[in-house]
């Protein structure tokens, strides 16, 4: 699905990532850990074509991103749901409209999704916030809305970058349960986090591979978790 082969990424004259190889197989669950500034977010952005590698190859669903133009990458992104720590919404649209945005931009309107959208809102516990505007949402509600937006088009892969960074422990467990459910539905999940308790909690429910970025390189972690 998503494959990185000997990928390097440099910015401002310095190499942030070096010789990264990673394969996200269908239905797999991955954690990406490492200290702040290690390059977790950069690696996530490489995984959905927001950044191009300075060396090596990134293949999204079999296509090398270097051979894709911006519109091709946009279409590929419809197969990848992304949740960031600092979630951004269109503040002039309601929560429901924001969640339905991936449908809108792909020519399928949220209204047509009807029951699916209601079900999704219920799944993330935002039914009573459907007509709220994004600035009215709490941190946890924003993360859940972002997760709903990421999965509304039923993507093959869900990438979550520090999804629990701005929420309390209870909410982080709730978000985690949603991500585990997605994985059980067959979605590939990659979560970047430095919260080891989150990883431990997950491993009790699904088989997750833990990857650690250190010194610009990726290594398989796990023994210390």
């Amino acid at each position: 699905m998503i494959e990185l082969e000997n990928v390097a990424y440099s910015y401002g004259g310095g190499e942030l990532l070096s010789d990264i190889s990673l394969k996200l197989a269908p239905g797999s669950f991955h954690f990406l850990t490492g200290p702040s500034g290690a390059g977790k977010t950069t690696l996530m952005r490489l995984c959905y074509g927001a950044l191009l590698p300075t060396a090596g190859h990134v293949r999204l669903f079999g296509a090398d991103v270097r051979g894709l133009n911006r519109d091709d990458i946009a279409v590929v992104r419809r197969r990848v749901g992304v949740v960031h720590q600092d979630v951004q919404f269109l503040n002039h649209l309601t929560v429901t409209e924001n969640i339905g945005l991936p449908l809108t931009v792909s020519g399928r309107h949220a209204a047509a999704a009807g029951g699916d959208l209601d079900e999704l809102m219920s799944w993330v516990g935002l039914t009573n916030r459907a007509n709220a505007m994004p600035p009215e949402l709490s941190g946890g509600e924003r993360q859940r809305a972002a997760l709903a937006r990421a999965v509304i088009v039923s993507p093959d892969v869900v990438l979550a970058d520090e999804p629990t960074g701005n929420v309390d422990w209870e909410m982080s467990q709730r978000l985690l349960r949603l991500l585990i459910e997605l994985n059980k539905m067959g979605k590939t999940v990659l979560i970047a986090t430095h919260d080891l308790s989150l990883i431990r909690a997950t491993k009790a429910h699904v088989q997750a591979r833990v990857l650690r970025i250190a010194n610009r390189r990726i290594q398989l972690a796990g023994a210390d978790l």
Binding site: A50, D71, S106
Partner: protein
């Protein structure tokens, strides 16, 4: 973004959901609508000027080209004889449809602006004037001059070419000036809309980032902005054009005394031309916003 039938259809049909992804921006919206209205208002006058000048050039060219004047400058006792001789020549001249000597009253009326209505024409050595109207084939002025020189020594043929050319040229230049004004107005609209579109796109960098994150193509994002600015330019220009047409309608009607200025309006089918101004403004907005959107989206990539 390529401009094809599908793009045009999407632009005209619109998409309520797609339209909503771009936040309403009060300042640039008002600026665009106002500027488009003001420019369309001015464009109506430039168009009226151009069309009136065109009519004037055609009328002067046609009227003066079809007529000539013969002055009989001869002693008083020979003037009538030479006038008759000139008229006889004109009767047999190919290309002359009609010729007649002006009456004393007509000549007096011609001179009235300078000498007043009480002028005693017989006391002055005023030449007798013969008005010559040409047929559609036209006459040969050089040949006629030769015949007049041989048979009517006091006759001087003036086929108006000496002062017709600069008049027609002046009117043609005026028409060109009107057209150049319309082009400049269109360029000013393009510049203003480009500025407004750039401002809107820059202010919505976060919106663009979110749209890209959820899989929007550049064409989709660009079209949302293009449609908004095109519709603003169209509506503003429509209002401006209608106001301009009303203003032109309220101008004093054409009269002989008013000359060119009172003829500065639209006639007949020319009233349809101002309706193309909003379409032109929309076209200019479409191209200007498309270009600005392409550039900004490339920079934000």
């Amino acid at each position: 973004m390529k401009f094809d039938l599908a793009t045009l259809r999407a632009l005209i049909a619109g998409d309520h959901h797609a339209d909503r992804v771009v936040p309403p921006s009060g300042f640039t919206a008002q600026l665009t609508v106002f500027a488009a209205a003001a420019m369309a208002f001015l464009a109506v006058f430039a168009l009226a000027l151009s069309l009136a000048a065109g009519r004037l050039a055609d009328r002067w060219g046609e009227e003066l080209a079809r007529s000539a004047t013969i002055r009989i400058v001869a002693p008083m006792d020979q003037r009538a004889a030479q006038t008759d001789a000139a008229l006889r020549i004109l009767e047999t001249t190919k290309g002359v449809a009609a010729a007649r000597a002006l009456t004393d009253a007509e000549q007096q009326a011609l001179m009235a602006p300078w000498f007043g209505p009480e002028l005693a024409l017989e006391t002055l050595p005023v030449p007798r004037l013969i008005e010559v109207i040409e047929d559609t084939d036209g006459m040969d002025p050089a040949g006629l001059r030769l015949r007049l020189a041989a048979e009517v020594p006091g006759a001087v043929l003036d086929d108006h070419s000496r002062w017709r050319a600069p008049l027609v040229q002046a009117a043609s230049r005026l028409r060109l000036l009107g057209l150049v004004s319309i082009v400049l107005i269109a360029a000013a609209v393009a510049a203003m809309i480009t500025l407004a579109a750039n401002a809107a796109l820059a202010a919505n960098a976060q919106v663009i980032a979110v749209l890209r994150l959820v899989g929007a193509t550049d064409d989709y994002i660009a079209l949302a902005f293009i449609r908004r600015f095109t519709l603003r330019a169209l509506s503003g220009a429509a209002v401006g054009a209608v106001l301009g047409m009303v203003a032109v309608l309220l101008l004093p009607s054409a009269s002989e005394n008013g000359g060119f200025l009172t003829g500065l309006g639209f006639q007949g089918a020319h009233w349809l031309w101002p309706f193309f101004i909003p379409v032109l403004a929309a076209g200019v907005a479409f191209v200007a916003t498309g270009s600005a959107a392409r550039r900004t989206l490339r920079e934000l990539a």
